[in-house]
Subunit: 294 residues, 2 copies
């Protein structure tokens, strides 16, 4: 089968055996924002045409491709939910060269009754179910980080933290960015930012330190972005780890980002187990295996 | 005497009697960012020339006019500090039509040893000293909100919260703003945002609700900005009021903004006493009264 993690900015396709072993892969910067004139069918055929020609016929897509801005909107499914429930609710898409289905996103409400949504991350969480022993906490850092709770194979709830996007907005469009110069993001200033997140005063106070410490000559302009990043990731992880001290957190994503999160999780009393982006491939194979195909 | 609160975007001048009664006032959008070619002397003469001609000679300036980007840099003074100490450290400026002095900004370190700075707000805090009975807490909401602790006439410490600027960056440069439509900022959605700030999960989680609740059809696009504003102001006030339940907070600023803060302060267990922007005039008169003039 063919699994595609098709997000806002990137397109990642995997050709897999029935048991989820990856036979081939393709990556392109052809996320839904980069597909002109909604030519999704052409883009898909461009990318996976050779695999279809070689006899593949089952194609499963996950991610923002199933949003209102994507190829076809797949309505959110409610938590708690397990792989067979998702596999029974796939959305079919017309495509002349193979059978294509979409994985719907998930919705939930948090403890206070406020709405939550995800698209694509559910597939990655299912991809680490086995490693989690079917229960535990998964963290997917990024523009909009997700923390999901899993119980006996069900995603029972999750929370979103706008950490990556807030970092970009603060660096690009506030006085903080005007003092920053290019520098490494993963050094001692990042850890200082994490420690700062443990202090009282709140995030809106902590971030001002990225300016005041530079003015005071205590923080280099080349270190200010790393410090701000540590403050934001630290505030996210501090809140998400509240009441979870001693737990293992399964962190899924690119190596550089999961390494930063692992340091924050450790600082707030957790144990990080890191998984790379191929969690998406394993999740797609798992869902496809439960789906009915013609 | 003449007192001028000269900030980044606005210029507010007051002609006062020795005991601080306002005889006349001028306001212009001639903040330091709007003065071409650093023509501060010309701008000042333009604005207060008639008062100088009428015999005024002592001119005291506060605010960002004393920053590196302003007329002349006045080095920060360290907290704790009282009015006579500030009056003894005024910075003289050459000006052909009268005697001009600058009020320096203040620096401090917070409980964790992280640097803090302010310019202009110290003068407004001194302007409400009498109303505070020389001790208490002052809050100056804005782009960079300040919370100052005052003990027996001394500003002993303060914290900055980048609430207003973060609101602008999130509304203008993240996915949150793309869903927002013009609407009132002070209604029930603002209060819902304040209540949201009392929940666990942290600011980076709370703000995502301004998107997810719209997607879920539970929040109107015209109410999303007010909800986000309530979340941000609520998170600031929640952190700043930690351990201060039952205290009076002296909130200084424009009426619409201090009204919003008063609601948040009340929600987090405090009592707000509001003061308008003329606190700056009273502070300038008080400092001028302790200064030595030729």
């Amino acid at each position: 089968m063919i699994g595609v993690d098709w997000g806002t900015t990137s397109f990642r396709a995997f050709r897999m055996t029935a048991d989820g072993a990856i036979r081939d892969r393709r990556t392109a910067l052809r996320g839904i924002l980069n597909v002109p004139d909604s030519r999704y069918a052409d883009t898909l055929r461009d990318e996976i045409g050779p695999w279809l020609a070689a006899g593949e016929n089952h194609v499963l897509l996950s991610g923002m491709i199933g949003s209102r801005q994507g190829w076809k909107e797949a309505p959110y499914l409610s938590c708690p939910i397990a792989v067979p429930d998702v596999a029974a609710a796939l959305v079919e898409i017309e495509f002349d060269w193979g059978q294509v289905k979409l994985v719907p996103g998930l919705s939930a409400t948090d403890a206070a009754g406020v709405a939550e949504v995800m698209r694509g991350e559910e597939t990655q969480v299912f991809g680490v179910l086995k490693a989690m022993g079917d229960s535990g906490v998964a963290c997917l850092p990024g523009t909009h980080s997700k923390w999901a709770r899993v119980e006996e194979g069900h995603i029972v709830g999750f929370t979103t933290h706008m950490t990556g996007e807030t970092f970009g907005a603060l660096r690009g469009h506030t006085i903080l960015g005007r003092m920053m110069r290019e520098g490494p993001l993963d050094g001692a200033p990042f850890d200082a930012g994490i420690r700062r997140a443990a202090d009282p005063g709140g995030l809106l106070h902590h971030i001002f330190g990225a300016r005041a410490e530079v003015l005071a000559g205590k923080l280099a302009e080349t270190d200010a972005a790393a410090y701000l990043s540590g403050i934001l990731i630290g505030n996210e992880v501090r809140a998400a780890m509240d009441g979870r001290q001693g737990e293992v957190v399964h962190v899924i994503g690119a190596l550089d980002l999961t390494a930063l999160y692992a340091r924050a999780i450790s600082a707030f009393g957790g144990f990080a187990e890191r998984h790379d982006g191929e969690a998406a491939a394993r999740g797609l194979a798992l869902i496809a295996g439960h789906a009915s195909w013609n």
